[in-house]
């Protein structure tokens, strides 16, 4: 009897504790320029958040930054509104999250695409985009009939240069004579949201002989994909799976599993098991990869698939190392 009472007491206490924790748990996410539905980077995060909300029923507060001055304000406001964990999306929020995290040591923070900060309450996700880009570079070089492939970047920053550099290395590994044309859309954050310019750059590359164009440009990439489809050439998607955007014209997409990062952040913060520090996600951790679905199954030949799988295995095993532009701000190719 006594033990039974104890059991019920303990059970009640646990139930109360869980409820209390659930009530206290208030997650928030700050999307960056480009917006929640950029069909790319931010949308990947949104997919992870949506999965979390669908599974747990916990609503996540959100804000979409539309100009540079809003980032810190938005984070402060989320903390004031009682957020217990705040997820920042993108390197551009690094300064803001660094400041807000040090001012609020009792709150948890997480940020994607940053690995250089140091706060006891901050988790940082970094992706090895160069590894995923290497794989799609192989596919591009093998799919190209002209021997020329293109790359359109968004804002000219080391992160995007890392995409480009991995892509060039992959393309050259498949075909040493391949010619890679590279363009950046701009030098300001508006370069993430300029589909007209993206389309024009793509046409320029196609005019110079490119027949596969890889883009890492947020919303600008929409213009790249539609311009390539208009011209009857191929494009490669980025971050999210973009194969469906122009079926038959998108060769594949370089997946960056920001959805996993967003989901993990929320899930771990909710369970109370939130490790801070840096997480590096590459091919080995399945943080990057390439997309194969019904929209591009006809475009990916068995040889391409075999080559990409072999390269992937070699990178995971450490036999091939892909140079990261960010390590020395230089691309050897």
């Amino acid at each position: 009897m006594k033990s039974l009472v104890k059991f019920f007491a303990a059970a009640t206490a646990m139930a109360v504790a869980t409820v209390a924790q659930a009530a206290d748990f208030k997650p928030a996410v700050i999307y960056d320029m480009g917006g929640k539905f950029d069909k790319s980077f931010n949308e990947g995060v949104y997919n992870g958040i949506k999965r979390f909300t669908d599974e747990t029923g916990v609503e996540v507060m959100e804000f979409e930054v539309t100009n540079e001055t809003q980032r810190e304000q938005a984070m402060q406001r989320m903390v004031q509104r009682g957020a217990t964990v705040v997820l920042g999306v993108g390197f551009a929020q690094a300064d803001a999250i660094s400041k807000v995290a040090s001012e609020n040591p009792d709150k948890l923070f997480s940020i994607i695409d940053v690995n250089w900060l140091d706060h006891p309450n901050l988790r940082q996700y970094a992706f090895k985009e160069h590894e995923g880009s290497y794989l799609v570079g192989i596919a591009a070089a093998m799919a190209s009939k002209t021997g020329t492939v293109g790359f359109v970047g968004g804002m000219d920053i080391p992160l995007i240069r890392a995409f480009a550099c991995g892509y060039v290395q992959g393309a050259k590994s498949a075909n040493a004579d391949v010619n890679v044309i590279q363009n950046m859309t701009g030098t300001t954050p508006s370069a993430w949201n300029d589909p007209a310019k993206g389309g024009e750059l793509t046409r320029a590359q196609i005019d110079r002989g490119a027949d596969v164009v890889y883009q890492a440009a947020g919303g600008t990439g929409v213009g790249v994909i539609s311009a390539a489809a208009d011209a009857g050439k191929m494009s490669i998607g980025v971050d999210s799976n973009q194969n469906h955007m122009a079926p038959g014209s998108v060769l594949t997409s370089m997946l960056k599993r920001v959805d996993v990062a967003a989901y993990q952040t929320m899930k771990d913060a909710m369970s109370g098991d939130f490790e801070t520090g840096v997480r590096n996600l590459g091919l080995a951790e399945e943080g990057v990869g390439w997309a194969l679905d019904e929209h591009n199954a006809a475009l990916i030949t068995d040889e391409m698939k075999a080559a990409m799988d072999a390269a992937s295995a070699a990178i995971v095993a450490g036999e091939v190392s892909v140079h990261d532009y960010r390590s020395d701000n230089n691309c050897p190719m």
Partner: protein
């Protein structure tokens, strides 16, 4: 044909694509400003047109209905501008800016309400937008050296709205200089009192000028989202309305010089897209940043140094009081 000449040809091809929205907006600006109404709101009308065209084209599946919707919405914006500064004699610059802010906010808000995609419209499928139109005899001319290539790359293969824009320049010039309406329109921007004493309504003339401006901006907006692009993205007009306004001033409020100014701006933008990362003879590879800044540097230089004396319509910016 040499590689250099071919690339130059492609650059001209890009020039036409990029200049089309500028040309339409510049013609709109000329009608409005020649009647004495400053039209800063070109930008807002362009953005409104872009949004409505994409939304209607996506919903109905017809790009031409999209153009119709865009014209209607853009004319509505024009009428708000007219109501504020013709009927109520408000400040034309303030009213124009208000239209721009209204368009910037309204397009995104309605976009979120309709499509729930953060203010964007869904990506338009092939039949929902204007595709390239192959001209007759392309295959035949293909064998003619040089001219065949020029015909194929430069003249053929654009979408209908590009040809429409180019066609509307002589039409605008004809209306302005060869019709009674055009004569009165020009007069009302210079000496409205004279037009009024001749028994012609100044207010109705200015309203008609603004309707024409709205119509042209609507087509330009439809071009942005359903021909050049494949859907609406927030703030996609990206300052093109203001550049068109600069072209109007640069062209001294005349259609053909304004067309040339628009082509110049288009050429600079097209060239900057193409020259980036390409080693040039003598200079070597030009840094990305400089190439991106080139159109703006040239604009400042041209506007500062080469425009000469520009005489705006005398009564511009002044509401007419009997």
């Amino acid at each position: 044909m040499s590689e250099f000449a071919l690339q130059l040809l492609y650059t001209f091809d890009g020039t036409i694509r990029l200049a089309t929205p500028l040309i339409l907006c510049a013609m709109a600006g000329i009608f409005s400003e020649r009647s004495g109404v400053i039209d800063i709101s070109l930008e807002g009308k362009l953005l409104t047109g872009a949004f409505v065209a994409a939304a209607v084209a996506h919903t109905t599946g017809s790009p031409w209905l999209g153009v119709g919707g865009a014209i209607l919405a853009s004319v509505c914006m024009s009428m708000i501008h007219g109501f504020a500064c013709i009927t109520h004699r408000g400040n034309q610059v303030v009213s124009g800016l208000a239209i721009n802010i209204l368009a910037s906010g309204l397009t995104v808000t309605i976009g979120i309400a309709l499509f729930r995609q953060g203010g964007q419209t869904p990506l338009l499928a092939k039949g929902e937008r204007f595709g390239p139109t192959e001209w007759w005899l392309v295959d035949l001319f293909n064998h003619v050296p040089i001219l065949g290539t020029i015909y194929r790359e430069l003249i053929s293969g654009h979408n209908m709205l590009v040809y429409l824009a180019l066609f509307l320049v002589p039409v605008s010039a004809f209306i302005l200089y060869k019709t009674r309406f055009g004569l009165r329109l020009r007069a009302v921007g210079e000496v409205p009192a004279a037009v009024d004493s001749a028994g012609v309504s100044v207010i109705w003339l200015r309203y008609r000028a603004l309707i024409l401006a709205g119509l042209l901006c609507g087509i330009a907006g439809a071009y942005l989202s359903t021909a050049q692009g494949a859907g609406f993205v927030r703030e996609m007009s990206a300052g093109k309305g203001y550049i068109a306004l600069a072209a109007v001033i640069f062209g001294k409020w005349r259609p053909v010089p304004a067309l040339l100014a628009c082509l110049l701006f288009g050429f600079l933008e097209s060239a900057s897209s193409r020259l980036e990362g390409v080693p040039l003879p003598l200079i070597g590879e030009v840094p990305t940043q400089l190439m991106l800044a080139l159109p703006y540097i040239m604009t400042v230089l041209l506007l500062a140094g080469f425009i000469g004396k520009a005489n705006p319509p005398k009564a511009i910016g002044e509401p007419y009081i009997k």
